[in-house]
Symmetry: C2
Subunit: 364 residues, 2 copies
């Protein structure tokens, strides 16, 4: 067991890598980085713990922002919501909270737990609950492991809290989404309380280490080699497309950021077009009308030049981007995983094909 610490100078790489792994969702890495840097500078470094080093009776609380990323950009959390949420949760937990965790990867949702750990002094797990980001609350490995979302707390910057206990995790999504919308379409949440003994089944280990390596590798590649190729290498993924954003249609509805982006190809993709559909996260990529990647696999959009991640709310006309597909955690590829977050759940009628097996333009 080695004690590791997250210091402020590591936040740029962590936030960048986390936003790549967030598959378009999980919030803006610039805001996420600033929030965590400030919290660490104010309260000191955050202790990072491997899940193998956590006692079976530990009480682990994943924290996250819930809402539309388009709103989170304009209404970032104040930091106070974390204390409000954890206080409300502690009141009904009975046992002391021992660790915090990330429920998903993302520019904000990987860094908010760092803020929370700095604010509370609690250690943070080097792990997350999906190995990517997904739009709905029930779409996490804890659901597959039989863990309830509840007790779930939502808190806003005005001191309002809602503690939910629901019949199943789909109801938790429904009620929490509705409250998050009333809280201004962005709320702090704490949910999927885990015992130490449940961590191996319910979490992806090593996520913070991975996202830091991803963010650092991309940065170090700049000016020396291709940052997008460097990211593909760390993700074990493949390049799907390189081109220019020519159209983005978006709507913020029911607490989600929905939309479609159209890209025309450049270079080797010069005579092709790619369409991306998203609900907070990128859901499906169609190359010349053919699905080349889709949920639960990751579709990550990076600036072609510098490899900087482009979240779905950041997509703009004229951006030169590369689209990368990467395999999801294998648990998402089981029948249960696909039922929870596969193409069918999102209303698509195509079968799931692992991104490494799908035919891309080059047939590679």
């Amino acid at each position: 067991m080695t004690v590791r610490q997250i210091t402020a100078d590591r936040m740029a790489d962590i936030a960048r890598g986390a936003a790549i792994l967030g598959a378009g969702g999980g919030g803006d890495p610039y805001i996420g980085r600033l929030l965590a840097e400030q919290a660490i500078l104010r309260h000191g470094p955050v202790t990072l713990v491997d899940i193998d080093d956590v006692a079976d009776d530990a009480v682990v609380v994943p924290v996250a922002m819930m809402g539309a990323p388009t709103v989170m950009v304009e209404k970032p959390p104040s930091g106070e919501e974390i204390h409000t949420a954890l206080r409300a949760l502690q009141e009904v937990l009975g046992r002391e909270i021992t660790h915090l965790a990330c429920i998903e990867a993302g520019g904000v949702n990987s860094t908010i737990p760092i803020v929370a750990a700095a604010e509370t002094g609690l250690p943070l797990l080097d792990a997350d609950g999906m190995g990517r980001a997904f739009p709905e609350l029930q779409m996490v490995l804890p659901t597959l492991a039989g863990v309830s979302t509840c007790p779930l707390v939502l808190a806003d910057e005005k001191g309002n809290t809602s503690l939910l206990r629901t019949a199943d995790n789909r109801y938790a999504e429904r009620f929490a989404r509705s409250i998050a919308v009333e809280m201004g379409c962005s709320a702090m949440t704490a949910q999927y309380i885990l015992r130490g003994s449940q961590l191996r089944d319910a979490l992806v280990p090593g996520t913070l280490t991975l996202v830091e390596r991803l963010g650092r590798t991309v940065r170090e590649a700049r000016g020396r080699r291709d940052p997008v190729a460097a990211a593909v290498g760390v993700l074990g993924g493949r390049l799907l497309f390189t081109g220019k954003v020519v159209d983005v249609v978006r709507r913020t509805s029911g607490g989600f950021a929905y939309g479609t982006a159209r890209l025309t190809g450049t270079g080797a993709y010069g005579d092709s077009a790619l369409e991306l559909e998203f609900q907070n996260e990128n859901l499906v990529a169609r190359l010349d009308g053919r699905v080349v990647a889709g949920v639960p696999d990751l579709i990550c959009v990076l600036e072609t030049d510098g490899g900087e991640p482009v979240t779905t709310e950041g997509l703009r006309y004229g951006f030169r981007v590369s689209v990368v597909g990467a395999p999801c955690d294998p648990r998402w590829r089981t029948a249960e995983g696909l039922a929870l977050a596969g193409p069918g759940y999102f209303g698509y009628d195509h079968d799931y094909v692992p991104v490494e097996l799908s035919a891309t333009r080059g047939g590679s």
Copy 2:
């Protein structure tokens, strides 16, 4: 101190009188009566307690249904929600619940606390939180007395609960309404937890005694004297109109039943027309375009023949009804009371005129 009991044979009068005092809202008296009769037959009579006989350190929990009465008619509570809600509340209260209470008068909201008292064996206060019914959660005398709505619990028939703590009572309305809508537009609530020492400031005493007398007086008048006039006598109110419903426009929106009813006069009112506007409860009555009664005073619609109350969701073309105005609790007539539930809050630009002073058609 005399111990009084509510037995099943008294429920018809109580439900009728409560629906009259509900000013069009608070739910259908037939459903309310059946729910309470069944609960009493199953668990035994309910003990009724005067607020003067409650110890200062008592913990009093008002319970009610929240939602659109139009929905409550089709989706009555199962009884299980009461236990779910009180369990969730007890978890954070710290002290044992000693009494239940009504937060408002109404065909269902006066009888749901009777069901809850029968189910739990707790005594019920002979009182309520407004002396009528109002559509929004913060419109209660406890708000005027500085009591917080929270901790507030909502529960549905599927076992889902939401425990709210909010910055103020308006936020409680906002979040609770949104959850109630997600729960199917009708949910069980427990809120405005009162200590015994707060009861005099926060409640209207004697409400259940009053509604039983009102319901009995109307029933006994049938076939002997005018039931509507009998109700007017008990309420200390005045007859505003007698006529026929010729049009009802309604919409269920944002968790409320909104609408307008138009009536043409009969008898002494033969050349007049009355318009009623409602949001769950009747808000304003305009006789030939002139306001003759409005919030916070009570506007009660009764069948002209038998004096049976007609709730807003029960208004239908062709009904022969009498419209009665009655004075509200004096606390609603203060500046604070009018700010909370006067005409201005509901978007009307007329000044409040106590119903006993407003000029009616007869100038009486």
